[in-house]
Amino acid sequence: MTDSYRKPTAFVLDDEEKNKPKPRAKPSIEFEIENSKGELVALPDIPIGARRKFRWGFILVSALGALVSLWAGFAITTLVEDFFARSRMLGWLTLGVAALAALAALAIIFREIWGLLRLKRIEYIQLLSTRAINLDEKTASDETIASLQSLYANRHDTKWGMTSFNDHGNDIMDPRDRVKLFDRLVLKSLDEESHRIIARRSRRVTLLTTVTPAAALDILFVAAQNLRMLRELAELYGGRPSTLSTLKLARMVVSHLAVTGGLALSDNLIQHVVGKGVLGRLSARFGEGAVNGIMTSRIGLAARDVCRPIPQPDSKKESLGSLLRELVRFGETPPTP
């Protein structure tokens, strides 16, 4: 708006004019299409690593990588040439296989890049939605909603929520409320699914730790289960998990855990009781399993904070307690929240 105030004006619509087809007489009137400070949220804490300007290690690895790929390229080329020298048929076959391998390598690289970009995009949406909720900003809110709608466009599990959200597209509400409405209608169903994922993985970790014969093996199992949980969670909230992006996600989750004090005192107490207390007395292995399960739940909750495009206020976050209750009840059919 400018410094000078605009004068009040009226534009009467005559009935004849209303029925007249376009183009309308000037000035033209365009109707909006009609169809049928609260709690603050915080972005997941991820410390920004100090960026080192120059790293010899990086150069060493890149140079070695370049050497290996040069060698591989050379080896493959000579191989193909050798085969051509022996027989034309074999030569073409080898060339085809090599081309196929190159194609697969390219596809993998693209997938990795796409996965990383998607991760970046979700981070950006988190930033936007935090702005929209905390500052009640219209532009941020509109952009958040638009990005999320394109993110969840072709999924069947969000369809119902998206449809009911779109029903309210023309209602007048504050930017903050619109983001919260999207959160409630669309993301809440995903939260329920993520709860199931975390609970299932935690139970499995507990079970595997309990029955694994060798102590060294269960570390591997736990790590594998956790990574798979991360992938599942990322995919659920719209990520494209690939190897690199899962590793990056894992790093973000670990640093988020470290910053938010994932090893809180109260949780430690639970671990103490569960691990070394009653359960531990019953069976040392089972006690360890329970501790690993609790750890998995905690990692899962942290991963959810990192993956969820709209951060939640603390009061609405699920506590570890509800997951733990399910963990102890394992063997029963998983309750649906």
């Binding site: 004006t9 534009f11 000037k26 009137i29 365009e30 909006e32 509400m173």
Partner: protein, 476 residues
Amino acid sequence: MVKLQKVLDGGRIAAAGLKDFAAGLVNPTLRLGVTGLSRSGKTVFIIALVHALAKGARLPLFEAKGRITRAYLEPQPDDDLPRFSYEDHLARLTANERAWPESTKRISQLRLTLEYEPRGIFARNFQSGKLHVDIVDYPGEWLLDLPLMQMTYLQWSAETIAASHKEPRATIAEAWSKHLASLNAGAPANELDAVKAAELFTAYLAACRKDEVSLSSLPPGRFLMPGDMAGSPLLTFAPLNMSPGQDYPKGTMGELMERRYNSYVNKVVRPFFFGHFARLDRQIVLVDMLSALNAGTAAVQDLKTALTQVMACFRLGANSIISDLFGRKIDRILFAATKADLLHQTSHDRLENILRMIVDDASTRAEFSGAKIEVAALAAIRATREAKVHQKGEDLPCIAGVPQAGEVLGNITFDGIREAAIFPGDLPPTAAQALDGTLQGQLKFVRFRPPPMKDKEFPHIRLDRTLDFLLGDRFS
């Protein structure tokens, strides 16, 4: 004397609070105070609230709505009050010649019962899952009486007379001022003079309320809206030039007026307050900012004064075990700028800012006492839709609807049939400008006729958020 009165009042609140607590054990009840000066939209808000809940309208931001299984009207709890005629009002709104409810002339009450699915095992098995929402509708003018409870006749006279010397009141008050100057408080009482003074004073108050000036702080309220007290001797008093410290013996004009003022406060104002406002749980304060902005700076300033004085009468603050037993306090207040549908949504933020400034004193006090407050631009029934007008290379954000017959903007007089797109002018970017006079003549808000129903619902603006704030936590 004043102290004794305070003790008595406290006792009254405590006794009523204890009774409420006992009743609330069986039937949980929420007393929703719909407060607002006259023409602020109380009746429309109540109709819209009942209609939206009873018909299960679209209220996306009212989270608890999913758990409400049934909503219906029940006979009101107080047998001595008439029932709010919801059906008549609704019929008037939805008839062919759709019209807003007439201004409320008497007090009425309604009880809306909400059945819901409680959360938690204990609540599901041991609670009724019912919530009664009691709402009282009354003429907004009467609200202006509440500050009189804290004032003596002497103070009130002095304040009223001082206010009437300032513009724009001075010109309106001319006839009454002339008569006032001819009266002597020490002279023997003369009934005819008293009646004449009351008549002129009432005429002055009524003139102050006209659209062109739109003033708000006009006590006593029964002078403007006597209800069933028309012609009662309780209403035949007016301010007098009294000198403080001087004694007015029995039989003088001053003594007569003072006596009548005191009986007005004790027999009319106090019962009204203790009957309906002393035990509220939640409060929504409806403020008609737009009429005041239409009329100009003086009206906005006057609205601020009136609201500040009225809000000082309510008991605000967070509740504790003791206040649960002996009179609950209002723990949530929503200040709503009503008729937000007369503005494009891009201006709602500015409207809310101006409202924040108007209710600043009241909301600071509320926040200090621990009550939760919120401010919203609200339209319980949205009469317009939004449009953009392209003119001279510029987009004007407009609202479109059918203006009421007789409304004027510029050189256009509306006939109540044709639709029009209105640009009401820009609200100031900073709230303080609403008080400094730069806006004079820059704004014109036109009243619209009620909208036709859409899918058997009334369109609204932020009614859902309002309900969520006022009622939402009672369903968990």
